[in-house]
Symmetry: C2
Subunit: 471 residues, 2 copies
């Protein structure tokens, strides 16, 4: 081994974002996070993923926490390691397309509050949906990483991904991530893909993100690294594997003494492992972590669809007393996908394709019943599909309705001013308008809760100190 | 990939032996096993590991089953796939050295009842402890596989293992297994080791056996296979990973379409997966399977000792109110190991070394207190240590006592006749004497139970059919 030139692998630790999002419904609190951050900051990670994805929504909705405050507190404890967030293109962290002024302001405030690396992706890989965020990140001098949603279909060839990589380079991204959210990327395929991308865009670092769902993840990292992958995403072992990432400690040890040695000291990790172990144990004991998420999902390997999609199907069919149609629906899925321009199967497209497949089978005639979301896809509301949808399908689904061919956000008026007005009465910091923009109802509830807490605290202060209300 | 010559990997499935031994305390019953065996027989596995190890003891002691009957029933359902057992050299499946006549008779009866491949190993890698079993297997025309107990120490170099492999070849073994019971073998080391063994003994197939305990197992298989490993041991996913083997479905899928393609049809596996899934779920629900065994054990990676060994230490220290001595004991372990000729740390040597390290630390003086088992090791009762123990240590531990330098079993008189006499009153089949030889008390209890059951059944027959006792 000693003869080969060293090519150290960089490690991005996801424990504080994707790992708990994947295993314990994003329920890790800031209080649980903070005591260990300064130790994680000293390890020498490439970055810590600590924000974005579902954490923003979970903070406001379930934990009654201000996500911006979480970010600032983490930054305080981690001055040395770049902080990373996951950003869903024009959806930001929400569930619709937002106007550019919201996207730009969100990026600006994320960076101002501590984010260094923004990983930006789009469910359809419509690169137009990433432009605004990438440009904004460039402007804020953050690292703009564009993530390709990895999927398997007849059109998702190596050449297709190489084409995307070149677009990403042109767009001004600083690195590329292959984002395999379902664990579909098998090891030798990963080697092929990474080699091709490194050749196509040799100056951009390539990062690989996968989940252990189907059981291949660690092997996939290994083959990717041997093929030239620069950075891998891992999680501390108590929150690793299953539907989460491979374990940080394991990958660090695996490459120790090889040309890929991460340079991370295993001993520095052990205290962090011990910190997270009781969090795992409590989550298992309370049922917050189900043992289901720790199991190998062979359906992912068999049907090349995300694990969660099939359990959704089963529930849908059960509700209709049509469980016997399961295998028919399974066969219908790739057909719907082909009809819909070979969508990647990720949130929300996996639900849209799955539901339409169920409707096609149950109605006994394809597209006799069509969901609102299916119409949205065909209308172009989500952006461009990987290949164009045939005229025949368009006709069948939306008839002669007008289709959107531009970038969907081009149709949106600036909306920040209006949002500011709507929520002015709750505003305590500039960032509050962004929380409100993404989740109007949930943010409003949080703002009210926050005020009530403050009043309560103030009341206590008032009671105990000088029997007067502070202003 | 298509340009490389195909070199299909063979898969040995451990679900019915090691997997349930590792995850659910060897408690799978014959009733649970039988309904799925004929399906497993049709998959095209290299072999099914179904017997030996702890299953024999568990059948008699906990399940009140006759292990021989289990073997015959499995054979009935699996006429096409070789059946494999794990055989602990001169210990057979028990906890002491047995005379050669017992070893020979056990091999003969194992083969007669359905075993095709006997994997034979010794905790100390003293090849003399394997001779009798290997010769007996040769005589019975079974496949004799010798397993090397893999461990890490200053003397366990690649050259050391190459030396063992050559001894194994000379001994007349049909294949070699690298048996990494603790999950210590990291991926790139596995590649080195397998390459060296393939070069040293090119005619013998090399099989790799590891456990997922430390989280590297699947990667270790991958690097071993790329380096020339012929056969890997895996378990069906519901009983895989954690302290068990990597998942069969996952490895099959990983090599699909590569030069290492196993040729196994993934679809043929899915029904088997579904069969074992409820067994996993019930075991988790009842607590028979602890979520502890599913966790990555980073101590294995950190201290290069088997996971279970450290939890034993903690208990021992707790009992003595000396938990603060933990790190002192951890440092003492490699010193005791060196003193004792660099024993591999497996059952029973891991317990012996661990306990002696505790005694050395608690007594405040090394070898002031010495366990009976430590004396046994130094006396040579277990066989030869990897390197000789120094005169100084010998003197300190056993003074001028006589040491055994021959093969321990050479000191044992034939014992079958005596055993036959002792248990004659219980005998219902030839094999019963072997059950009695290995576990005299447990087998006697089982024989009594068996008789009681038979009498009860007879009583019922008598009652319901013709009011007379059958003879
Ligand atoms: Co993810
Ligand atoms: Co084993």
């Amino acid at each position: 081994m000693a003869n080969i030139n060293p090519r150290p692998v960089k490690i991005m630790d996801t424990t504080l974002r994707d790992a708990h999002q994947s295993l314990i419904a994003t329920r890790m609190t800031t209080e649980q996070i903070l005591p260990i951050v300064s130790k994680m900051d000293k390890v020498g990670f490439h970055a810590l993923e600590v924000w974005g994805g579902a954490t923003f929504d979970a903070c406001l909705r379930f934990l009654k926490e201000d996500p911006w405050e979480r970010l600032r507190k983490i930054k305080d404890q981690a001055p040395n390691t770049p902080l990373q967030m996951l950003f869903r293109g024009q959806n930001i962290l929400g569930y619709r397309h937002y106007a550019d002024d919201v996207v730009e302001y969100f990026v600006q405030k994320s960076v101002a509050n501590g984010i260094n690396i923004i990983r930006i992706f789009d469910a359809l890989n419509d690169m137009r949906n990433l432009q605004t965020a990438v440009k904004a990140a460039n402007k804020e001098k953050a690292h703009a990483q564009v993530a390709i949603s990895y999927t398997i279909s007849d059109v998702h060839t190596i050449d297709y991904y190489v084409g995307l990589a070149k677009e990403i380079e042109e767009m001004g991204a600083n690195s590329i991530c292959i984002k395999d959210m379902a664990g579909l990327l098998v090891p030798y395929r990963a080697a092929e893909l990474v080699s091709a991308l490194k050749e196509a865009v040799p100056t951009l670092p390539i990062q690989l993100h996968t989940h252990y769902t189907s059981g291949v993840a660690a092997m996939t990292y290994m083959k990717a690294i041997e093929a030239g992958c620069d950075i891998i995403d891992t999680a501390m072992s108590p929150l690793a594997m299953g539907t989460s990432q491979p374990a940080t400690e394991v990958l660090v040890k695996t490459f120790e003494g090889t040309p890929y040695d991460t340079g991370i000291n295993s001993e520095a990790l052990s205290e962090i492992t011990e910190y997270f172990r009781p969090i795992r144990q409590e989550a298992l004991a309370s049922g917050l972590m189900s043992t289901k998420v720790l199991e190998v999902d062979i359906n992912t390997l068999r049907y090349q669809v995300p694990g969660g999609m099939l359990s959704n199907l089963v529930s849908q069919l059960k509700e209709q007393n049509a469980e016997d149609k399961y295998y028919e629906v399974l066969k219908e899925i790739p057909r719907v996908r082909a009809d819909f321009g070979y969508l990647p199967l990720v949130t929300p497209t996996s639900q849209i394709v799955g539901t339409q497949a169920v409707l096609n089978v149950l109605a006994g005639e394809r597209y006799k019943m069509v969901s609102k979301e299916s119409k949205g896809i065909v209308r172009g509301e989500y952006g461009q599909t990987p290949v164009p949808i045939s005229d025949e399908i368009v006709k069948k689904i939306i008839g002669d309705e007008k289709r959107i061919t531009c970038r969907p956000a081009d149709l949106l008026e600036p909306e920040l001013d209006k949002l500011e007005k709507e929520m002015a009465m709750y505003k305590q910091q500039d960032e509050d308008v962004l929380s409100y923009a993404l989740f109007p109802q949930v943010a409003t509830d949080f703002f009210k809760y926050r005020e009530a807490q403050q009043t309560k605290v103030d009341m206590q202060v008032a009671d105990t100190k000088n029997a007067a209300y502070p202003v």
